[in-house]
Structure formats: C-alpha cells, structure tokens
Symmetry: C2
Subunit: 186 residues, 2 copies
DNA sequence: GTCTATACCAGGATAGAC
DNA sequence: GTCTATCCTGGTATAGAC
C-alpha cells in the first residue's frame, strides 16, 4: 500500500477519535514508524492533509451509499441500511463521522475543507430526501425530513461516544435512533 | 462579576466555538486582559477548568429547562420550547452544545468530565422521555423516542455549524428539525 | 489575587544529506 | 522518498515577588 494512503488511514482514524486538534504528525509518525518530515513530503501542511482526508472520505462514503442502492431493497430498508454505515463507523473503534468532527472543528480548518464538509452534508441530504420521496413522503416534506434524519444519525454518534467506547453488550444507539425515525417519518 | 466566573464565560464560549483542544489560556488571557498565571490561580489545570465548565453548564441547562416547565404549556409546546434552548445556543455566535463538543473531544478529557458529559445526556433523555409520555407516547417507546429527539437536536447543531455562522436570513436548522420530529413522534 | 519571569515540552514546518 | 538535524512558536504549568 502506498505511503500516502497509509498516512491517510492513520490520520483519519486519529481525527475521528481525537478530533482535528487532538492529534499531530508525531502520532502518525509513531504509528507508521516513519519520520515527521516523510509525512510532510506527502502532505506539506496539516491543512493539506485535512483536504485530502475529506476528499477521500466523500468518495468512499458515496461508494458505500451506492452499494446500499445496488442492494435493490425497498426504500425503507435502504434508509435502515444507510444508517448502518454510521453504526459501523462507531463500531470501528468508537469512531464518529469525519464530517461531524470537521463541523465541530471548523474554525481550525481552511475554507476549502469547511466547504467540502458542507458539501458532504448536502450530498447526504439529497440522497436521503430522494429515498424518502420514493417511500411516499410528500415532496413538501422530504427536505425537512431528510435533514432531521441526517441530524439524528450524526447526533446518535455523539451520544454513543459520550456513553463510552463500543462494548458488544451495549445496545446500538445509532441503529435504535434510525429505527425510531424511519418508523416515525414514514 | 467574580474573576472565576468571567474566566468560565470566556472559556465556555471558546470551547463551544473552537473545541476543547482549539483554545488555550492565552486566548482567555487576551480576552479578559488578565495574565495566564492569574487564570491558573483560579483553575490550576485545563482539566480542572473543563470540570468547572461542565458542572456549571449542567446546572444552568437544568435551570433553563425548568423555565420551560414553569411556562405551564402543553407537552408538545414544551418540547418545541426545549429545542429553542439549542437554537438559541447556535444563534449566540454559532455555538454548539458544550456537551456535544466534550463528547467529540472525550479522549482529551479526564474521566470525571466524560462521566459528567454522559450524565448530562442522561438527564436530557430522562426529561424528554417524561414529556413525551405526558404527550401520550406509549411507555414502551418513550426511551427510544427521547434518544432520537436528543440526537437530532445535537446533530442539528453540527449541521448548522457546517453550513456556516448564523446569518439572520439563513433558515433555522435546529427549529426546523425539532418541528419535524415533534410532528413525527407524537 | 495578580503580576513578571521562566521552564519545559510539543506541534508544525524546513534545510539539506542520502 | 526517507532520513537527521534543527527552527520557531505556542501551550501548559510553576516559582516567587508584590
């Protein structure tokens, strides 16, 4: 695997667990057994690293969402499967959504990253609104309902994090919230 | 106003806008025209400052919630007014919930603060569940519905933040999400 | 309770050799 | 593409005078 990608993997996990201001090149350096200047060779500044992170995250998330679509399941089930993407994120070491973190740490980030974060959420809103429409929600309400569903999923990750690291027997906050909302909104 | 309180006011605003790892004693020092050692006199460590912050936040939030109760409004309207507390937070300089920030930055915080953050959310869940019950939601569903409502409010603050600072003509994401959920859950 | 002065370390980044 | 060595700045914290 290319060094740049290994750096991105390490950095993404660190951001999702500690926040943008909660990690440093030294952490990546230790994890990958590579020196700090080597990291700077691939990503000159931390801001550039953040830009690369969010670009890759948007792509990957869109791809995962496409798999949900390709399952050919009904609209209701696709909304539940979509929430599963968030649940899996938390199950993977207690991570939360990269864009949720970037939203909180927006003041520390360059404009391009802030815009990309907003763009990510716009993408999600649009997709969810489309599936809600397919499920029979009247066009006048799909926008607001999609925003509410998205907000609930991002918030559920916060609540899960506040409750502690994921420990098997702990019930799944994200899936529970998603199930409640799908029932209520449809 | 006592110095300790002015420090807490400044620190709280900084945390809510920049995150726990996004501000320093130097920022408070500049804002209050007081030296860094003076701040250390009141709050020896940043962790101690965080503890004081969350203790005060829980008290104040409980008091604000009590005002919602004292309005003698119906259950539905109280849920809407409660969401107004979150909307006002964002209206005040684009702040998000202190506990939402602390949930994201949990890894940087001492255990006591993490527990207090979890305790804050437990308080909110309990209150919301009670009002939902009063509004006629069956007892088997109040817990999950309360968690979903709370998650949506916290998440709505993230989405609002991602979209940019509050600018009057921008529509109110938090209130819109709350209205949608109150309609859907009741 | 507030100050000056200072210690100490970590974070982000660069120069230049290999 | 990776390294050693180094720079500068800022963050957290302490000592001790006023």
């Amino acid at each position: 695997m290319a060094t740049a990608d290994r750096i991105l993997d390490s950095a993404q996990a660190l951001v999702q667990v500690r926040g943008y201001n909660g990690f440093s090149y030294a952490d990546i350096s230790a994890e990958l057994s590579i020196t700090k200047p080597s990291i700077h060779h691939h990503f000159p500044t931390k801001a550039a690293l953040a830009e690369a992170l969010i670009a890759r995250y948007r792509e990957r998330f869109a791809a995962a969402r496409k798999e949900v679509d390709d399952d050919m399941a009904g609209a209701r089930q696709r909304l539940v499967n979509y929430a599963g993407l968030y649940a899996e994120t938390f199950a993977d070491g207690g991570r939360i959504c990269l864009c949720g973190v970037f939203a909180v740490d927006a003041e520390s980030l360059p404009v391009e990253v802030r815009q990309a974060t907003d763009g990510f959420f716009a993408d999600q809103r649009q997709w969810v609104a489309g599936v809600l429409a397919e499920a029979g929600v009247p066009a006048t309400r799909t926008g607001a309902a999609a925003e509410a569903y998205l907000a609930a999923l991002e918030g559920a990750l916060l609540l899960a994090r506040a409750h502690g690291q994921p420990d098997g027997n702990d019930r799944d906050v994200v899936r529970s919230v998603a199930a409640t909302l799908v029932d209520a909104l449809l």
